[in-house]
Structure formats: structure tokens, C-alpha cells
Amino acid sequence: MIKQNNSEKVFTVFNYIFLFITCFITLYPLWHVAMASISDPLIVYSRRGFFFLPAGQMTLRGYTLVLANPNIGVAFLNTLFYVIVGTGLSMFLTILGAYVLSRKGLYWNIIVMKMIIFTMYFQGGLIPFYLLVRNLGLLDTRWSIILPVAVNTWNLIIMRTAFANVPESVVESARLDGASDWRIIWVIAVPLAQATVAVIALFYAVYRWNEWFNPAIFISSKSKYPLQLLLREILLFNDTSSMTQLGSVGQSQQESYRMLVKYCTIMVATIPILIVYPFLQRYFISGIMIGSVKG
């Protein structure tokens, strides 16, 4: 290694400190919520400001209330449905479309690509989109959430670029061995583009987990609410009535549990994603770069 001179040492130290502060600021809001969620409900209710550590007697009471709540359970299952069915459909359509569009020498590909890319330049807008869903009779159905956003154009383009790197010679020799295009996609192309497939699946799944706007304008029955819509009521409309009244909390205590329940709900809705994503982190750079280097 080349020796560092003094000014470089100073730079290195400051750099480490600066990055540490950035991490602290990034983590603090979530840390704050985590600490508040296990604090004494009365303290959480009356005192705000910083929470570096749990305040007062540590308790998991908020979590038992949240997890025992049937509304949360239903919303959680709904979200699970939207994530699994939505991501499955998205991946199916994206992989098929991207593979075909990545093959060279097909006349229609040029036209179809133009047609797809035009939709990035110009959209019909919110109201025509809403009316389309309404006219198709999809209001308040699960399909209104699953279908309209099944394919994301960016993801399709990234996927297509990744498939374009699958050598034609490999495909050709598989074809000579009698493999159908359908088989070639699933047995050769997808495993070869594994990193990108994983990242795109993660993007779709996270999108589905966090999605709230389309459900908010299309879904009216609570039985079909995804978790995020319930969260919106609790966090932004300040409506925790659906949370505490069903729990075994006395009338007088309900108000004091309001804040605690908020924090616990945030945790319950966020933890699943935070657990999954570090495992896929190693794919980020390779998966994204392959798709964007030559778009």
C-alpha cells in the first residue's frame, strides 16, 4: 500500500465521522419508533421529543394489542395476497415480454418497443385511468389493484437488457436439442439472468407491499384493504379506534395507548421488509447495472 500523508489521514478520519453521522440520521427515525414502541404507554402519550432508549417500564403491551387485532390480521393477509399474486403475475408478464423483446431479428419487436416506450413519454392521466377501471366494473375488486400496474416499463427494460446478454449461441444450441422457446426461457434465460430477476422481483414485491394510492381510490370495503391503507387511517387520520376498542384495554386507558399503538403498527408493517432486503442486497449493484448500462 501507498503511505498516506497527513492531509489524507485527516480526510479519512473526517470521512468516517461524516458517514457515521449520515448513518445515525438515517437510522434515528426508525430507532425512535422502535424505542417508543416498547416504552411505557403513559410516558409515550405525555412526553414526546427524542427517544434514544425505551422510556419507563419496558412493555410489549402495544404489540400484543396490535397483533391480536383482527383488522390488522385481515389487512396483513390482504397485503400478502397482493404481494404474492401481484408479484407472480408481474414477473410472469415481464419475463415473457422482456425475453421476446430481447431476441433479435423479429420484425414486430421494433413496433412493440416503440409502443411501450411511448407510454413513458405520455400517459392518459389520473381521471381517464380511474374512469377506465370504473367502466370495466373493477371498482372495489382485488383485480383493480392487481391488474392495472402489473407491468412496470422500467423493470421491463432492465429485464430485457439482461436477457439480451444471454448469448444467441446458447439459445440456438438448446433449440437444436429440441427445447421449445418456453423451456429456454425458464431453464436457460432466467437462471443466466438470475441477479436481475431477483432484483426485479424484489422491486415488484416491495412496490406491492408499500402500495396505497390505487387501493385508496379503488377499494371501498375494509375487507379488501391492504395493510398500508389501514396504516394510513391509524397514522394520518388519527383513527386508532379500530385498534384499541377490540383489545382488552379499559375505556380510560384507550387514549393513552393511542400513541403506543401507532408506533407498534409502524414496526409491524416495516419489519418484514427490513428482514428480507439485506439478503438481496448483494444483487443490487449487478442487477441494476446490467439493466441500465445500455438501456
Binding site: L30, R48, G49, Q123, F213, A269
Partner: protein
């Protein structure tokens, strides 16, 4: 152009070429059909509804049957005091967001690239990518909590000797809150692509620079930055192209009547007039105005990119 399928195809009339192409590739095209149908229905379907902008929509007659009113709703929008306000807010919020949200991830990537300790680097990455995956509802919930007069920001105000106030009730804080929270969520994530570009700058160039006696700053200026300049150019153009189509979701989750003055943008206005107040025609007209601006911005961005980098984005 497509590669020649075979020698014969070159001399065929185009109808025969298409038939030939179909015979050769029909099993591939079959798999393309679902995606084509998806785009026809969900991307092109709504375009038909744009007609609404020129009609006085009544549900009884549907889109076709409603009477034609020409540019009435466009005039109504531009004559209203809201047009200036929402256009100004859209431009300003986007501009500030670009001003901070674009260069800072580059700086962050440069700094991270200088970290030699692998574990420290990896930890910083894991932590700073994380907020990107947190849902908007949760982020807005935390913002509301932190900005309340007795929240975390209130506490900071108190420590600084200022009077704590509810930041979301005061129009002058909204843009900072918007840009700041975007930065919090995206700093790490947006730096990934620059980090990847940095890792492809050749090590030999650094060695050569070191032998020439260039210090850290000189190396960054003369080796690192030129190395990632194409990536920076492409991404900047992309950002500008999609600048006006910013997501209004955060805005409609956070704003309220008290702060429309600085918070209301074109798309949130469209949402409020259309979905909440059921002014379908008026709202479609305003939305169309927004779409047309977006269209020209993206076309412009693509042209510039094609000139500058000799590769257009698509």
C-alpha cells in the same frame, strides 16, 4: 433494423416478409401477446378518456355522448388564481429536489468509495439503502409525528432557543420537509449507480496519477469525476426529463388547507378536483396540460442525451 432472417427475405415484398417473420417466430410472438394486451388496455385505454378534457362530462351520456365544449376547461384553469400557484409550486419543489437530490448522492458515493475498510463500507451501505424500502405511509406518519410542536423537531427548536411550532401547519417549511425527507429516503439508494460506475474506473489511472504526485483531491477531480461523467450526464438528463412527473402521493398525504400555498402542485390539484370533488372534465384538462409538458421534457431530454452521449436512452 432487424437482422436478415435469411438470404431470401431481402427480396420479398413487405407483406410476405411479415408472413415469413410470423411463420418463423409465431411461438415467440405468442408469448409477447399478454404484454401487448396489457399496454393496450392499461396504458392506451386511458388515452381515450383524454377526450373528456374537451367535453362537459355527465355520467348519463358517457364519454362519447357528453357535449363538446372545446377549450373551456383549459381557459377556466388558466384564468383561475390556482393555475399560477400550482405551476409555481410544481416547478419549485422539483427544482429544489433536483438541486439537492441529484449531486448529494454523487458526493456520498465518492466519499463511500474512499472507505478502505470493507465492513464499515458494507454497514454504511446496508443502513443507507434501507429507507428506500420503507413505505411512504410510514414515512409520512413519522414526519407528522416528528413535526408536531412537541415532536422531535419541536425539541430541536427548543434546544436552539426557538419557539416550537407545528411545521406542517406553516407554509414556509413544506418544501424543506419535502426535499429533506426525499433526501433521507433516497441518498443511499441513488448512490448505488454511481458507486458501480466508480468501481469501473481503472486502477491503473489512479496509480499513474499517484506516480505523477497527484493528491487525493487532484485524483478525484482528474481521474474519478471524468470516469463517471457519462453516468452523471445520462442520469441528470433522465431526472430532468421526468422532473414534472414527480409523485404527488407524499404531497396529498402531508398537505392540508393551511399550506396549499406552497404545497399544492399540479398533480395534487388534479387529484383533489377529480377524485375528491368529481370535476372529471376540468381535472382531466389540467392533467392533460401536465402530461403535455412532461412529454416535451422527456423528448427534449432524449434529444440532448442522443447528442451528448451518442446513445439515446431508448
Amino acid at each position: 433494423m432487424a437482422a436478415k432472417p435469411d438470404a431470401q427475405a431481402g427480396v420479398m415484398p413487405w407483406s410476405a416478409k411479415i408472413a415469413h417473420d410470423w411463420r418463423r417466430h409465431w411461438h415467440l410472438y405468442l408469448m409477447l401477446i399478454p404484454v401487448v394486451l396489457f399496454y393496450l388496455l392499461w396504458a392506451y385505454g386511458p388515452m381515450y378518456g383524454i377526450l373528456l378534457a374537451f367535453k362537459d362530462f355527465s355520467p348519463r351520456f358517457g364519454i362519447m355522448g357528453s357535449p363538446f365544449v372545446g377549450l373551456r376547461y383549459f381557459r377556466e384553469f388558466f384564468n383561475s388564481p390556482f393555475s399560477y400557484r400550482v405551476i409555481r409550486n410544481t416547478v419549485l419543489i422539483n427544482f429544489y429536489n433536483l438541486l439537492f437530490g441529484f449531486p448529494l448522492p454523487i458526493v456520498f458515493a465518492l466519499l463511500l468509495n474512499e472507505v478502505k475498510n470493507r465492513y464499515y463500507k458494507k454497514t454504511v451501505q446496508t443502513i443507507t439503502y434501507m429507507p428506500y424500502f420503507v413505505s411512504l405511509i410510514v414515512i409520512c406518519g413519522i414526519i407528522v409525528d416528528f413535526t408536531a410542536s412537541d415532536g422531535v423537531f419541536g425539541e430541536i427548536f427548543r434546544l436552539l432557543g426557538l419557539t416550537p411550532t407545528n411545521l406542517l401547519a406553516n407554509p414556509k417549511y413544506f418544501r424543506s420537509l419535502y426535499v429533506g425527507s426525499e433526501l433521507w429516503q433516497r441518498l443511499g439508494w441513488d448512490s448505488i449507480i454511481f458507486l458501480a460506475a466508480l468501481s469501473s474506473v481503472s486502477a491503473e489511472l489512479y496509480e499513474a496519477a499517484t506516480i505523477d504526485g497527484a493528491g487525493k483531491m487532484k485524483q478525484i477531480l482528474h481521474v474519478t469525476l471524468p470516469g463517471i461523467l457519462p453516468t452523471i450526464a445520462i442520469l441528470l438528463i433522465l431526472r430532468i426529463g421526468f422532473m414534472m412527473s414527480l409523485s404527488f402521493e407524499k404531497i396529498i398525504l402531508l398537505y392540508n388547507g393551511l399550506i396549499y400555498e406552497t404545497a399544492d402542485v399540479i398533480s395534487s390539484f388534479v387529484y383533489r378536483k377529480g377524485i375528491i370533488e368529481n370535476n372529471f372534465s376540468f381535472s382531466t384538462a389540467v392533467g392533460l396540460f401536465n402530461s403535455v409538458i412532461n412529454f416535451f421534457l422527456v423528448v427534449f431530454a432524449n434529444k440532448v442525451s442522443a447528442k451528448m452521449t451518442e446513445t439515446s436512452l431508448w
